[in-house]
């Protein structure tokens, strides 16, 4: 197990290198540069800017220079937010995205699995249909529709919650977490229901029931673990997406998370900022997939990653 983990972690390096290379050159291929704006720059000023940010070096030299920086975890200065380095921007934005993401995912996991199990146990009843109907709605209504409705009702009309903004307090988290959690909850509920129905028809459940165990014990002790397998494999990448921030949620609720940096950075050709968040996202995906594999092995004794154990 340990050797497997080490191998996986070492595998991170070539993957990341690939990611950095592709992202770096893709950014540079995009037309326009970080300093293009409607107000044209006199050539001497443009030259000064390019010199300051080393954009006048040959591209390969810039690439290796950047790799050298990344190796010591220095993502360089942001082109757009000139008073801050990319490291500082990530350090300020990531905790916010992470808080919202982890809370939303936890909420989605708890509510989603409970609803899914409830629906599966009452398969093809009115409860099942209405729960799955709501879940379908949750998946299909985009969050940029749900968010304004929630704001209008809970913040503007009722005045219970702030309409946006971020002070790190509980009240300012409620709406974004709720909005972010809704589609994931719905998805997890559907996954859980499907998987539960399948598991309930399998032989080991029949055996458990034949032993005369009460239904609640059958569900909790025997069914739950295999039921969670597909949910966990969904949650890994979804978690990476959620804790690295959602552009839509951040814009609508005006939350200073990481999500906007992907879009704003790309639009502004803020090379260093985009690279910084892409690398972070890459690391998160790889790590979370790794965690998923570990949980998988723990949930399903049939899966083992190396021969020795």
């Amino acid at each position: 197990m340990l050797r497997h983990s080490l191998r996986r972690l070492l595998g991170l390096i070539p993957t990341l290198l690939m990611l950095i290379t592709v992202a770096f050159f893709m950014m540079r291929v995009a037309p326009g540069g970080p300093f293009d704006s409607e107000k044209s720059l006199p050539p001497e000023i443009e030259a000064n800017l390019n010199a300051k940010y080393h954009l006048d070096d040959p591209l390969l030299k810039q690439y290796f220079h950047y790799l050298g920086q990344v190796a010591v975890l220095d993502f360089g200065p942001s082109f757009q937010y000139k008073d801050w380095t990319v490291n500082e921007l990530i350090a300020q934005g990531f905790p916010v995205s992470m808080t919202v993401g982890v809370l939303a995912m936890s909420l989605a996991f708890i509510v989603g699995t409970l609803l899914g199990i409830a629906a599966a146990l009452r398969q093809n009843t009115r409860i099942d249909y209405s729960l799955m109907g709501v879940a379908m709605l949750g998946i299909s209504i985009p969050n940029f529709v749900i968010a304004p409705i929630l704001i209008l009702v809970l913040a503007v009309y009722a005045g219970w919650l702030p309409a946006g903004g971020w002070d790190g307090g509980f009240a300012s988290m409620v709406l974004p977490v709720l909005t972010l959690a809704l589609p994931a909850t719905a998805y997890i509920a559907r996954l859980t229901r499907g998987s539960m129905i399948e598991v309930l028809h399998s032989n080991f459940i029949r055996t458990a029931r034949a032993k005369g165990l009460p239904e609640s014990v059958v569900i909790r002790r025997h069914a739950l673990r295999p039921v969670l397998l597909p949910v966990i494999s969904f949650m890994g990448p979804a978690m990476a997406g959620m804790i690295s921030g959602s552009v839509v949620i951040e814009r609508i609720f005006s939350i200073p998370g990481l999500g906007s940096y992907f879009v704003q950075g790309a639009l502004n050709r803020d090379y260093t900022l985009v690279m910084g968040v892409v690398i972070l996202y890459g690391v998160l995906i790889i790590l979370l997939n790794f965690v998923v594999d570990l949980i998988y092995a723990w949930l399903n004794p049939k899966i083992r990653y190396d021969e020795t154990s």
Partner: protein
């Protein structure tokens, strides 16, 4: 036991956050309470009795400022904050006139090339250091220094040797700025630049505090490090969340600065700002959602403020590419075929003014030369357009096929669609629309290879028509039209070196006339600024540059606040009468309840003391106000934070 682990950890996470203080900002319901009538005191300042007890302003700033280093700043969000933090040699009045800033007066030499500024001797930095001529010399040199890499340094180009210093050909000390003595500064210019005083309130010319810039380097603009000379200081900066400014007590005019605290929020989504405004958490929005004019006009008629901006929206022709090379008839036809009244009424909808010229109205003494057909009816214009279209060699069987390029944006898309359909309707033109991402669009425009007709716009940094006219100069970096006319260029040259204002205006009029006769672009409308402003916020005025200094603003108390104060006063008067019969201690108790504002607390305590003992008339009045105010407070008018 194992499978409870996940659930347990989730619960821990949830409860960790649940333990946070629920700091719910108070909301003021959907309706903004109406302000009391504004009364001015003898000094021309608002009378203290009409001012809200809490002078805290919440401004939406559209997006995160790129920087608070004045010499690196570009973009409107930075400029708004920097105007509060710093003060240039000149400043602006609420209506946009140039007024003395850090310089109290100045002389301009006869040839218009040497400016001598006399600095205020009472001007201080926020840390107490005096603002000296040497600070300005240091700052202007820093701004022009190639190593600073300012991308707005072209504001400095009128200065002597500025171009050479910027390109590194001359050392910094050759820049046309010298300190004559501690409080006298001399700036020499290359050409007489009549709008130069207006440039001196642009952030590129702001002073920065020498010792703190040297000490902190590139992080001098962080909270805690930033030393500023404007009406406010930087207190806190949470990236993409909020920027908090506090009144600068060392500012020379601090006695007249009423708003004590300003919060700038980067609400990127206009609808979010609107909701915040409706919830009473903002007094000033950056913009309003583009498609909600009717709704806003109906529900927020008093709050919705729309005023002309010093900017033009137009379409450019690429004169280097067919079909527009040497084809004046066709360009005129396409311009005349557009019903601008229809476009502003139905497409933009916010009261934008139809435009037939390049320079927008709003500059004192300057009127643009309107083409003759601007005064025709649209029927006449369309008829003439059809005639010119035919003269250019196009007809039903052989229609013009062109591409309209625009950058991503709801309004640009609607506008391009409307233009295309008007052209089709009036002339039968077959136009294709091309939407491009901003940077791609800019590059295509500049290269002049792909473009035919493209969206363009210009909002000037300084209040002078020259800023618009020079766009069409041969070789100008943003001359994406490929327009080149020697007469036009030489007229522009004359404008640049003319120092007598009336002659200069005539020259600019003539220059624009030449341009409009060649029609290398299609004027469409003049931009407007549109925002929601709390009616309680006063002291500011609409101006074409859309520059608004927080130091001029103040918040009125609401009618409700005033009414409850009035009621409280009456109640206190009754209690007073009763109190005469009762013992003095009771009155003192009442007084102790009234600690609405800490600054007035001492007065309150003193006067209750007076009440208990002497019952003097003057003391009574103060005591009444203080004592009973919170008693009558209703739940709707809680102060917004």
């Amino acid at each position: 036991m194992r499978h409870t682990f996940l659930v347990a950890s989730v619960v821990v996470l949830l409860s960790a956050c649940g333990s946070d203080d629920p700091q719910q900002p108070p909301t003021r319901s959907d309706q903004l309470t109406r302000p009391v009538e504004l009364v001015f005191g003898e000094d021309g300042r608002p009378d203290p009795s009409v001012l809200a007890p809490e002078q805290v302003l919440h401004r939406d700033n559209g997006e995160e400022p790129q920087t608070l280093d004045p010499h690196l700043a570009e973009g409107v969000p930075s400029a708004h904050i920097l105007r509060d933090l710093f003060e240039g040699l000149t400043a602006e009045s609420p209506e946009g006139r140039v007024i003395p800033g850090a310089a109290i007066r100045w002389n301009i030499s006869r040839d218009g090339k040497v400016y001598t500024f006399y600095l205020r001797r009472d001007a201080l930095w926020s840390n107490g250091d005096p603002v000296t001529a040497e600070d300005f010399v240091y700052s202007l040199r820093r701004s022009a220094n190639p190593a600073t890499a300012s991308n707005y340094a072209q504001v400095l180009l009128p200065l002597n040797n500025a171009a050479e210093v910027l390109s590194g050909q001359l050392p910094l000390n050759k820049l046309g700025v010298t300190a004559m003595d501690e409080y006298t500064l001399q700036i020499t210019l290359k050409d007489p630049t009549p709008y130069f005083l207006g440039l001196l309130n642009h952030s590129s010319t702001y002073p920065v505090h020498r010792t703190s810039v040297i000490q902190h380097g590139s992080s001098f603009s962080r909270p805690g490090n930033l030393v500023s000379n404007g009406a406010y200081t930087l207190k806190d900066w949470k990236v993409r969340s909020q920027i908090e400014l506090a009144k600068n007590e060392n500012y020379w005019d601090a006695a007249n600065v009423i708003i004590g605290q300003v919060f700038y929020y980067p609400f990127e989504e206009q609808s979010t700002a609107l909701k915040q405004f409706r919830a009473g958490n903002l007094q000033w929005t950056y913009e309003v959602p583009n498609n909600q004019f009717k709704w806003l006009q109906k529900h927020y008629p008093e709050e919705l403020v729309i005023s002309p901006w010093f900017g033009s929206y137009f379409f450019g022709f690429n004169l280097e590419r067919e079909p527009f090379v040497e084809n004046l008839d066709l360009r005129l036809a396409l311009s005349m075929a557009l019903d601008r009244d229809l476009l502003t009424d139905k497409v933009t909808q916010f009261g934008e003014r139809p435009s037939y010229t390049l320079v927008p109205p709003g500059i004192r003494d300057f009127v643009s030369p309107k083409p003759e057909w601007a005064d025709w009816s649209q029927l006449e214009r369309s008829a003439e357009a059809r005639r010119l279209y035919a003269a250019a060699g196009y007809d039903q069987d052989k229609p013009l096929r062109i591409e309209i390029r625009y950058n991503t944006g709801q309004n640009n898309k609607k506008m391009a669609l409307a233009v295309a359909s008007l052209w089709k309707q009036v002339l039968g033109v077959q136009a294709t629309l091309f939407n491009e991402e901003w940077k791609v669009f800019l590059q295509n425009r500049e290269q002049k290879v792909l473009t035919q007709v493209f969206r363009a716009g210009w909002i000037s940094d300084y209040a002078d028509p020259y800023s618009f006219l020079e766009l069409f100069r041969t070789g100008h970096g943003r001359n994406d039209f490929g327009y080149s006319n020697t007469l036009y260029d030489s007229l522009l040259g004359e404008v640049a070196s003319e120092r007598i204002p009336s002659r200069r205006r005539r020259l600019m009029f003539e220059t624009e006339r030449v341009l409009l006769a060649d029609m290398p672009f299609i004027p469409v409308y003049t931009y407007v600024t549109k925002r929601l402003v709390d009616p309680r916020l006063r002291g500011w005025q609409s101006n074409v540059m859309d520059h608004h200094y927080t130091k001029d603003m103040f918040l009125l108390k609401t009618a409700q606040e005033a009414a409850s104060e009035e009621a409280a006063r009456e109640k206190a008067a009754i209690e007073e009468a009763l109190g005469e019969q009762a013992e003095g201690e009771e009155a003192a108790d009442e007084g102790a309840v009234g600690e609405e504002s800490t600054s007035e607390k001492s007065t309150s305590e003193k006067s209750t003391g007076g009440e208990a003992t002497g019952e003097e008339a003057a003391d009574e009045k103060v005591a009444d106000e203080q004592a009973a105010e919170p008693v009558e407070e209703t739940d709707t008018d809680g102060p917004s934070t």
